[in-house]
């Protein structure tokens, strides 16, 4: 790769938030035609730095140079005018509009009288989708799309700007392997056209595959910028977290004598779930693998009563349970950590303490309905420490936390609730390597303490690292249950085992 000319230079960037020194004189430089990975723990300041480059925040100090000339980036529009496109970490879509309407918001092709040229808008969108190999009708309302699809819309939107600088803040967090491969081929194509790409991700293998250079940040400061090809993953992680993290293998406990905690018999709902039966023992971690849309989340939501099944039976500790709502489920001792934290997991405008306590308030209420705030403060602080949630305090509003730390708050909420059966749907999405290892330990400890745990994950290494048994789904059916040490090959075969050749 020939080193391109310098596109962006950020020097001495400083940024304070109330109680947080988010960026400490950070420098960063991007060349044309390179993929530059930006790495660091949750809360290291990656998103903040990129929000400054894209005009969402103004820096307190420092300079930004584009093509060698100093610029002021006052708002998102100014950054767009400079050719900077960004895919934000938190999905920023308008759920009531269609895919095409979302993509062209602010730049609608117009006819006379302020009318919108919907036909052209849809055609342009279809062209971008075609380039991305994305088979989707531009007129689909965003609210009806899965998170993965919504993420593809964000990517399409960024591409539609034809940017010279493209910032991707964890674009693959919700994508499956095929979609990631598609995205990477788009990234390579853009890079070859001379676009400078800034790529943020917590997935180490991706960073190695796609990036040319890597900049590591820690605690709001620049640590190092290194060449991707010649630097070992281990030393990158060491730079990020300041310590080494070992690779660990799953240890399968002997569960022969353990009682069954959850049994599902013939669970069915429309075409989404077809006759699913399995059982889960006390102390067991059952991983659910499968492709995006295989029905794993639907299964979890059905067990949790969020969208009850039409048919089938759920037995808890051997007794049939009637679960018609999440309230029933929680009372029966089931906890569910949703994959879409922003919509289902968090009250963003409330503080960390309130969010952690949200599912357990009854325990902290006296007979007059008064809340035991000191007690709440104590458990909130315990969980903040236990999960290493980076926040200035338990009264900080959750929306001010970095993405990965928000995810930890959701986990803390369900840990506090102390359920017998816990369903984790993509528990480590957007979580850094260090914290991931901690969460794996935590889940293993919970299982050892007698909880029954279901982990749904699209990351194969995660399923393999955690699961005592691996259930695989395809198109709403449970295609098989494999033992712990199965090969990725075996899982993929079950994950693509379609019924009767209907392709």
């Amino acid at each position: 790769m020939t080193a391109g000319r310098e596109l962006v230079r950020m020097q001495g960037i400083d940024k304070h938030f109330p109680g947080v020194h988010a960026l400490k004189s950070v420098g960063f430089e991007l060349r044309a035609g390179e993929v530059h990975a930006l790495m660091g723990e949750n809360g290291a300041g990656k998103s903040t730095l990129m929000k400054i480059l894209s005009g969402v925040y103004r820096p307190d100090g420092g300079r930004i140079l584009i093509d060698g000339a100093e610029v002021q980036i006052a708002d998102p529009r100014a950054s767009q005018a400079l050719g900077i496109g960004i895919i934000h970490q938190e999905l920023a879509l308008m759920r009531d509009l269609t895919a095409a309407q979302n993509i062209w918001i602010g730049r609608e092709p117009r006819l006379s009288l302020g009318r919108i040229d919907e036909a052209r808008q849809n055609a342009d969108t279809a062209a971008i989708f075609a380039r991305m190999n994305l088979r989707l009708d531009p007129r689909t309302p965003v609210a009806s799309l899965s998170i993965a699809r919504q993420q593809m819309i964000e990517i399409a939107k960024a591409l539609s700007y034809r940017p010279r600088v493209l910032i991707m803040d964890e674009p693959t967090a919700a994508l499956n392997d095929a979609e990631i491969a598609e995205l990477f081929s788009i990234i390579r194509q853009l890079r070859d056209e001379g676009v400078g790409i800034i790529y943020i991700s917590h997935k180490m293998d991706e960073i190695k595959r796609i990036s040319d250079r890597i900049t590591v940040m820690r605690d709001g400061a620049h640590v190092a910028t290194v060449d991707a090809a010649t630097t070992a993953i281990g030393s990158i992680i060491a730079m990020m977290v300041g310590r080494e993290i070992g690779d660990e293998q799953v240890v399968v406990p002997d569960l022969a004598q353990a009682p069954v905690a959850l049994e599902v018999r013939g669970l069915t709902r429309g075409t989404e779930l077809r006759d699913i039966s399995f059982s889960l023992k006390k102390g067991e971690i059952l991983g659910f693998a499968g492709l995006m849309g295989a029905g794993r989340t639907e299964l979890a939501r059905a067990i949790f009563g969020a969208e009850p099944a039409d048919g089938g039976e759920i037995l808890i500790h051997g007794r049939p349970a009637r679960i018609r709502s999440p309230h029933d489920a929680v009372r029966a001792g089931i906890g569910y950590l949703s994959e879409d934290r922003k919509h289902y997991g968090l009250a963003l405008g409330m503080d960390v303490r309130a969010n952690i306590a949200m599912a357990s308030l009854a325990r902290f209420t006296d007979r007059l309905g008064r809340l035991d705030e000191p007690g709440l403060r104590k458990v909130a602080r315990d969980h903040i420490a236990r999960l290493r949630i980076r926040t200035p305090g338990d009264r900080q509003e959750v929306r001010f936390l970095s993405g990965g730390n928000q995810q930890k708050v959701v986990i803390a909420k369900w840990l506090l609730r102390d359920c017998d059966i816990l369903i984790f749907d993509e528990p480590t999405r957007g979580i850094d390597v260090g914290a991931k290892a901690e969460i794996y330990h935590l889940l293993t400890d919970l299982a050892a303490a007698g909880k029954a745990i279901i982990v749904i994950s699209s990351e194969m290494p995660e399923v393999l690292r955690l699961s005592h048994r691996i259930a695989v789904m395809c198109e709403g059916r449970l295609t098989g249950i494999l033992p712990a040490a199965s090969s990725q090959q075996a899982i993929m075969e079950l994950a693509t085992e379609r019924q009767g050749g209907t392709a």
Binding site: V56, D75, P76, R77, Q80, H88, A92, L93, M94, R95, D96, L97, Q101, I105, G106, E108, R110, L113, G114, R115, I116, R135, L136, D137, T140, P141, A143, S144, L145, K157, E307
Partner: protein, 331 residues
């Protein structure tokens, strides 16, 4: 073969369509019920008077629908309507100017007031409920101050009452003299429906209500558009001011309070979500019709006015509850 393999995930909830259907069905049921109950109900004269009675509330409701779709609210439309009528009186009766200038005064005053509300909401970041609550009182006071608390009559302006009472259609089709006020309502509704469905302004109206932060991050000047929407709704309020003052042949400064709630009720019955992002003008029209059919029908059946109010309240609650049920069912 372009559609093969394209994944078209139908919206699980074609929400407002269903609500519109529901509202429309209730309207039919109401009309049928009243027609059976009293032979005087389903008469041309009575139907026309229902339509006429819908015109003012309908126009107000259509205007405020836009604001509600952005996730906002406007409590000042009732007193704003009165204030625009007062300013029209100032221009026409006191100033002796020609009618077109009076019309301009009404719409211009409304747009200016709306712009002020919009600025308070967008720039000063005052919650819409508070900002327009303040405007409601300010405008009520101003109407009384300007007029010295006495009505202004439009006797000097020839044909002022025709704006709402006359009937262009009646001249061509004497059997069906639809009053102009009703035509104006339909024209305004058509215009706003077009704006919402076809134009950039409409797109941003829905987008703001759906996810304002996302719109802002897309580089859209959300403040400016929001102000434009409030101003437009204000201008429409001015049209309502013309309609009501034409019907009364006067600007009544003490009138106005309460109209905003009726308009908002019509919007809600019509299926527009108070949390923004969803709503239709057709729904609002049906909602406004339901309100006036109800009032009229109960009056025809000689139900006491105090009971009419109770029934209206119940209907609003039932309508919104039905909407909730439907939404829960499809989720």
């Amino acid at each position: 073969m372009t559609d093969i393999g394209i994944e078209r995930q139908e919206a699980r909830r074609s929400g407002s369509a269903q609500q519109k259907l529901l509202a429309f069905a209730s309207l039919i049921v109401l009309v049928a019920g009243f027609s059976l109950a009293s032979p005087r109900f389903f008469q041309i004269d009575n139907i026309l008077s229902i339509l006429q009675a819908t015109s003012v509330n309908g126009v107000l409701a259509v205007g405020v629908t836009m604001i509600i779709i952005t996730g906002g609210i406007d409590l000042s439309i009732g007193t704003m309507m009165t204030f625009t009528a007062v300013m029209t009186g100032v221009v026409l009766t006191w100033g002796g100017m020609p009618l077109p200038l009076g019309i301009l005064a009404a719409i211009g005053t409304g747009a200016a007031c709306g712009l002020i509300s919009g600025t308070l909401v967008a720039k000063a970041r005052i919650p819409p409920f508070i900002a327009t609550l303040g405007m409601m009182l300010v405008l009520k006071g101003l109407s009384l101050i300007v007029t010295g608390t006495k009505p202004i009559y439009f006797n000097g302006t020839e044909g002022y009452t025709l704006i709402s009472q006359g009937s262009v259609i009646g001249r061509m089709l004497p059997a069906f003299p639809v009053p102009n006020g009703v035509l104006i309502l339909f024209a305004v509704a058509g215009l706003v429906a077009w704006i919402l469905g076809r134009t950039v302004l409409g797109r941003y109206t829905f987008a703001l209500g759906s996810n304002e932060e996302a719109v802002r991050l897309s580089g859209v000047n959300t403040d400016r558009w929001k102000m434009a929407i409030y101003a437009l709704a204000g201008g429409i309020c001015g049209i309502a001011g013309l309609l009501i003052s034409s019907r009364l042949n006067s600007a009544q400064p003490a009138l106005g309070l309460g109209y905003e709630l009726e308009a908002i009720a019509a919007v809600v019955i019509g299926g527009t979500s108070l949390s923004g992002g969803r709503g239709t003008i057709l729904g609002t029209l049906i909602g406004a019709l339901i309100m006036s059919v109800l009032t009229n029908g109960l009056r025809v059946l000689s139900v006491a006015p105090e009971w009419q109010t109770v029934v209206t309240g119940v209907i609003i609650i039932v309508a919104v509850y039905a909407d909730q049920l439907r939404r829960r069912g499809s989720h």
